[in-house]
């Protein structure tokens, strides 16, 4: 028996999807599992899941070259045709669409004419798209595909390294980089024995150097990062794939949620993380919509004094009691607990009931 999981979203989603795939495989050890991804996923990340055969849909390459005058018109079609025929020849017993998007469903229909979403899938997609829904992506997917998976907890020992991930691929989810400098400097001053690094990709080096010292910047890929993430490491991250990756290593994380990032749906799937979520009237906005304000004003709602106060206690393993939101396990799913209530609207967003069902 052979099954195909389609994970045709972004890097952070792929990392989370693979947690589900591994849990599914554990329950079905005799089944051969293949995974279909797009060309956004870095090769080193794919290699970490090399136990599964991966197929790559070069969707972004197609988009880049589709109307490029020097590319033969028919090439993207020929390339996709080759991939579709290859996948059809695998004769999968089951196809799972972890992306749950129109384009992924359409592609799976090309691989198997009989593919369609079940009623459960349809209702879960509708629930997930509802702005009031408070369920983590993984908890939704595990419900659809009947997968046993409970969030693990962050593990912490004496802190020897703090990593900051302060850039995302989406401007709406960023905080002005210069605002981070004082907090990084004060941490370095207060805890000189702790190694503090600002993470970034090669393409972000110049941007990061405009604010931070070159010696504070750590340019690395996932395989490098995987080698340094341990229980003595802590992460402060915007809504990026790095926080999902760090959760695989149980790294305690402070998550900053602004723009289109949802404080629970898009959180790292790990209990014990602290979340600072901007409370602004248009939050969370749509992933593909532009910020109506140009600059994402919701970022100003993150209180950096409060963040610094929490950060100092958190780094020293002191019991942090003034956190805004903390993730925890509730009935086997990811729930949150809030210490700060900011009016009725805030209460609704962070109610202490189980948020998964």
């Amino acid at each position: 028996m052979k099954v195909l999981f389609a994970s045709l979203s972004r890097i952070g989603d792929y990392i989370q999807h693979m947690v589900l795939v591994q849990a599914w495989q554990k329950a079905h050890p005799d089944v051969e599992v293949h995974v279909l991804v797009n060309d956004l996923i870095p090769v080193d990340l794919l290699k970490m899941n090399a136990q599964y055969k991966h197929f790559i849909l070069p969707r972004f390459e197609y988009q880049k070259r589709i109307n490029h005058a020097a590319t033969p018109l028919i090439y993207p079609f020929l390339s996709l045709k080759k991939i579709v025929h290859q996948l059809r020849s695998e004769h999968y017993t089951l196809l799972f669409d972890l992306s749950l998007q129109h384009h992924s469903a359409e592609l799976l229909k090309l691989i198997d004419d009989t593919f369609s979403y079940t009623e459960t899938e349809k209702s879960v997609v509708n629930e997930y798209l509802n702005r009031k829904d408070q369920t983590h992506l993984i908890d939704k997917l595990k419900k659809i595909y009947d997968i046993e998976l409970t969030p693990k907890s962050a593990l912490s020992s004496k802190t020897h390294r703090i990593l900051f991930q302060l850039t995302t691929s989406d401007m709406k989810k960023n905080i002005d980089l210069a605002r981070w400098r004082p907090i990084v400097d004060s941490l370095k001053f207060r805890f000189p024995w702790i190694e503090i690094s600002i993470l970034g990709a090669k393409s972000e080096r110049n941007l990061l150097q405009s604010v931070f010292k070159p010696s504070d910047i750590l340019i690395c890929d996932f395989s490098h990062l995987g080698r340094i993430l341990d229980s003595g490491t802590r992460l402060i991250s915007l809504d990026t794939s790095i926080k999902h990756f760090a959760a695989l290593f149980h790294v305690p994380t402070i998550e900053i949620s602004v723009g289109s990032s949802h404080w629970i749906k898009n959180a790292a799937y790990q209990a014990g993380n602290i979340i600072f979520s901007a409370d602004f009237h248009c939050r969370p906005c749509g992933h593909s919509s532009e910020c109506p304000y140009g600059r994402n004003r919701c970022q100003d709602e993150i209180n950096f004094d409060h963040l610094q106060d929490v950060l100092f206690k958190w780094v020293t393993n002191t019991n942090v009691i003034n956190y805004p939101i903390k993730t925890m396990v509730r009935d086997g799913s990811l729930g949150v607990h809030s210490q700060i209530f900011r009016g009725e609207k805030w209460k609704q967003k962070t109610s202490q009931i189980n948020l998964s069902y």
Binding site: Y62, Q63, T71, L73, H103, K109
Partner: protein, 202 residues
């Protein structure tokens, strides 16, 4: 009649009448500039249109030894020179192209294109004196004009079927969107695969 002149650096430069088929003074920097236009990170096969003095091919082989280089050339003298120059090169194929291409040629050409999907790399300095022929070959490969697309569809016996009237309205430069909109078929898998590109245009 093509002659080969030796420049001040001892490089052989092909000349046709008063035209050089690659830079006389700086063939190597011309090759550098030419190669810099292409992104070959994913390429397994490339198709160089125009042999010239062969310096661009030499550089290409030097920088990308794992890529299979196919060279299309109309002039037998240039081809002879290239055969001599690249005698022992691996992963290199030189093809002499006739100016009187027939349907068998196109059938084989498109079969090659379908199988290898090579990166198309026109080397225009080598086209001098035969610009029209090279341009026609290049257009046949790009299929951005209705005639060349029709030629491709007929030569390959494609399962795709287009409303040519719609394509003709876009005769200067066809795009994938034009193909999706002009697609008349829905039943065949190939047509459904083509329609999938509509997802990218939403």
């Amino acid at each position: 009649m093509i002659q080969f002149l030796v420049n001040k650096n001892g490089k052989l430069i092909p000349q046709l009448n008063n035209l050089f088929l690659c830079s006389y003074l700086r063939p190597l920097s011309e090759a550098e500039k030419w190669l810099a236009q292409f992104d070959l990170r994913q390429a397994k096969d490339v198709l160089v249109i125009g042999g010239g003095g062969g310096y661009h091919i030499e550089l290409l082989k030097l920088k990308f030894p794992d890529i299979f280089v196919h060279v299309f050339e109309f002039r037998p003298e240039v081809l002879e020179h290239l055969e001599d120059k690249f005698k022992k090169k691996q992963k290199l194929a030189l093809y002499e192209i006739s100016t009187k291409a027939d349907s068998v040629f196109y059938k084989n050409l498109y079969k090659f294109i379908d199988e290898k999907m090579p990166e198309i790399m026109p080397f225009r300095p080598a086209w001098q004196g035969m610009e029209k022929e090279y341009e026609a070959l290049h257009n046949s490969l790009l299929m951005r004009e209705v005639n060349s697309l029709v030629q491709y569809l007929e030569s390959t016996g494609s399962n795709l079927d287009f409303e040519i009237r719609l394509l003709n309205e876009q005769k200067n430069f066809l795009t994938m969107k034009n193909l999706v909109l002009a697609n008349r078929q829905t039943g065949h898998l190939d047509a459904q695969i083509l329609n999938y590109f509509g997802e990218f245009m939403k």
